[in-house]
């Protein structure tokens, strides 16, 4: 069964590493839903968080192939782990008018989404949450008319204290 997997690759910070990682997935025929590469507390180490759709067998191949890259230190498919904090971030601009503004604000409240900006015709909000919750917020805002949104893609961290490895 094909489903979304969140994969974290810990990599050495070398030129072209993002291209290597995403290129490898493309080369092997996988579609990347999102990819985030960002520095960590160690300046030599970056983390790349990928959301990829595929079957369990395919994900096993993806992680193994990624592990083969010389600059990839570690790969985990966090869909297999429970103790992970996973978040995604969204900024969304919704069309509003005087009549429905309070309704929009009320819904935002339920999600703990924060307003960032507002004028007579639009309201801009932000939310950091699990991807599913963000999906739902988008679905609820749709009837009002979504002007624009941008999502960060998922990123994650283990709840456990870091083991020295």
């Amino acid at each position: 069964m094909s489903k979304k997997h969140t994969i974290i690759a810990t990599v050495t910070n070398r030129v072209g590493i993002l291209a290597r990682v995403t290129g490898l997935l493309a080369q092997r025929g996988y579609n990347i839903e999102s990819a985030i590469a960002a520095p960590t507390e160690d300046p030599d180490i970056y983390k790349i968080t990928l959301v990829v759709k595929g079957t369990e067998d395919q994900m096993e191949q993806v992680t193994k192939q990624l592990n083969k890259l010389i600059d990839v230190i570690k790969v985990i498919d966090i869909s297999h782990e429970n103790n992970y904090i996973v978040r995604e971030y969204i900024i969304m601009k919704v069309n509003i008018n005087r009549k429905n503004r309070s309704e929009v604000l009320e819904l935002m409240n339920v999600f703990s989404a924060r307003p960032l900006d507002v004028d007579n015709n639009t309201l801009t909000m932000e939310l950091s949450a699990r991807a599913r919750k963000i999906d739902r917020l988008i679905a609820l805002m749709k009837p009002f008319g979504i002007n624009e949104y941008v999502r960060s893609g998922e990123f994650a961290m283990t709840e456990d204290p870091r083991r020295s490895s």
Partner: protein
């Protein structure tokens, strides 16, 4: 020390004795250092593809890392086919390409190509060196990566300013720090135990070995394992030579043009032990049909190979040599009498054969068999790609590892001659023979001159069937005999729809390979009759320098047995149906 000097010094420290390559603008500073380097022999090929295959042939025949130096842009792109060839067959080569200066990168400067982008998916690892201080580390890492774990090509792109810059406190590194690269060599002992247990319980175990046996020098341990267990063996194209062709337990090569016995063995076995092979689709056939009766054990140094194509019951990640040694300690002596007699029966029932006496023209198999007559066990046979390659796999009497070189994974026409040249440079005292087709020889024919000028005495046997034979065979068997663009004699005067040789075929054809050879300083021979074949070989092999024999063979002989693409391992064509 200047970057160029650091590069050469690093190579010497890595034990490099030979470089194949071709110069150009941005590489002049490097070639300038080579001008006065005595430790390294440089073979100036006539094309960068030739250099890359030569380095590959050097590497496959010795196990050492082959090295290529070429310039940026077109020089660099000309190496692509060679790099991809080496990648597919896990061959250690290091390809150093010149690059425009770091300040010009990204500006579409003269002869700039994004080599790291181009090679990313066809090499094991690549580098673009941005600063001279990185150079020593890069060289050290490149050689380590190329020839450890599962070997493969590494590309180093070297901007001209890096080569010219100086590093005051140069020291070649002694250690390597690659946190992301820790090739497993040992193999988990519990998994090996599991495998030993499975062997104990099996009645019809079958070993399926590949190139991994050769790259990990596991052939001796393989032979010991076999003599203790008497498990029959089938071997992939890449693994040929890891067990002598006439070993009593050797069943043959499986796959599309493998021997029937090996393919039937696959369908009948109850435990398949793959060691250093990768379940290529030329062997497995359609998904789900492969070795259906069998439990599958897979020993490979590359964890990504395990489970990639076929579901594995017993995975063992580890070096073939180590695993076989441990496994031999763990298993009991066994005979598998019934199963082995079944193997003998299959081998007797479906022998490979050809019948020269029944044919007027030279049969390609006969010509290839003739090579056996003129070579000893340590001869290195290098093939090109096509029908002749498969006949070589079927009829060459390979006895030792690293003696049968062939482009398996990529199937690169044009591989044969330059790879043979590289193997000969690496093994000056051994006989090296390139067996190639009338198509393939023309893809890197310029290297004849390289052989002649450098006294590289390869013997080139061209199996001339006047066709791109392997493609013509498919057209013959599956495309209603419509020989579209596979006849090398075809002229504009030929009818549009030709279904094979007939009385109206043009007599002339080009090139005249005998003359091409002679014009390149290589002794040329041409033989058309069965009667003259042995004499001609005798003369060519007696000749001191390089020689080329163009053997005019029967045009329409097909390679059998054959499992058509998409068919199962027991759906074999023998060529006598109809």
């Amino acid at each position: 020390m200047k970057g160029a000097e650091i590069l050469i010094d690093g190579l010497i420290k890595e034990g490099v004795d030979t470089i194949f390559g071709y110069p150009g603008g941005v590489m002049i500073p490097v070639f300038d250092v080579l001008y006065s380097t005595k430790e390294i022999k440089f073979i100036l090929t006539r094309h960068e593809q030739g250099a890359t295959h030569a380095a590959d042939g050097y590497a496959r025949s010795t196990g050492k890392t082959g090295v290529v130096f070429v310039t940026s842009g077109p020089g660099a792109t000309n190496t692509i086919t060679g790099i991809a060839t080496a990648k597919m067959d896990s061959v250690p080569i290091v390809v150093v390409t010149g690059q425009v200066s770091t300040k010009s990168i990204g500006t579409d400067a003269f002869q700039e190509t994004d080599m790291s982008g181009l090679t990313r998916s066809i090499c094991k690892h690549n580098y673009l060196v941005n600063h001279v201080r990185d150079l020593p580390r890069v060289i050290k890492e490149a050689f380590y990566i190329a020839n450890s774990g599962r070997p493969g090509p590494v590309s180093i792109d070297l901007p001209v300013d890096v080569v010219n810059d100086s590093l005051p406190d140069y020291k070649y590194p002694e250690t390597i720090d690659l946190p992301g690269y820790k090739p497993v060599v040992k193999g988990h002992i519990n998994q090996i135990k599991k495998l030993a247990e499975a062997i104990k319980n099996a009645e019809k175990p079958l070993l399926y070995t590949g190139g991994g046996i050769i790259s990990s020098s596991a052939h001796n341990n393989l032979l010991q394992f076999i003599s203790k267990t008497n498990i029959p063996v089938i071997t992939t194209l890449m693994g040929l030579g890891s067990i002598p062709y006439d070993h009593p337990r050797f069943v043959g090569m499986p796959g599309m043009h493998g021997v029937a016995a090996a393919n039937y063995a696959l369908t009948e076995c109850d435990l398949l032990i793959s060691v250093g092979a990768r379940f290529d689709d030329r062997i497995t056939g359609p998904a789900g049909s492969f070795a259906k009766q069998a439990k599958i054990a897979h020993v490979d140094i590359d964890p990504a190979e395990i489970g990639k194509v076929v579901k594995t019951d017993i995975p063992v990640v580890g070096d073939a040599n180590y695993v076989l040694e441990k496994l031999t300690e763990m298993v009991d002596n066994s005979e598998y009498v019934e199963w082995n007699s079944r193997m003998s029966e299959l081998k007797m029932e479906y022998p490979l054969h050809y019948d020269q006496k029944a044919h007027e023209y030279i049969l390609p198999q006969y010509a290839i068999d003739m090579v056996n007559k003129f070579t000893t066990d340590d001869a290195i046979i290098v093939t090109d790609v096509g029908q002749h390659q498969m006949w070589c796999a079927q009829f060459i009497k390979y006895k030792q590892p690293r003696c049968f070189l062939s482009s398996g994974g990529l199937g690169t026409m044009g591989y044969g001659l330059p790879a043979a040249m590289g193997a000969q440079v690496a093994n000056p005292d051994r006989r090296v023979v390139a067996i190639t087709g009338d198509g393939g020889i023309q893809m890197n024919i310029q290297e004849l001159a390289t052989c002649a000028i450098n006294n590289i005495p390869v013997k080139v046997v061209v199996i001339n069937n006047s066709y791109l034979g392997m493609v013509r065979q498919w057209q013959d068997l599956f495309w209603d005999g419509k020989f579209s663009q596979t006849c090398l004699k075809k002229t504009p005067d030929c009818p549009d729809h030709c279904k094979g040789p007939n009385g109206n075929c043009p007599n002339r054809y080009w090139p005249n390979l005998e003359k091409v050879a002679e014009a390149n300083g290589v002794k040329g021979f041409r033989v058309e009759s069965v009667h003259d074949l042995e004499k001609t070989f005798s003369a060519a092999f007696a000749h001191k320098g390089p020689a080329l024999i163009e053997v005019m063979v029967d045009k329409l002989t097909n390679v059998f047995p054959m499992i058509p693409s998409g068919k199962k391992n027991n759906e074999i064509l023998f060529g006598d149906e109809k």
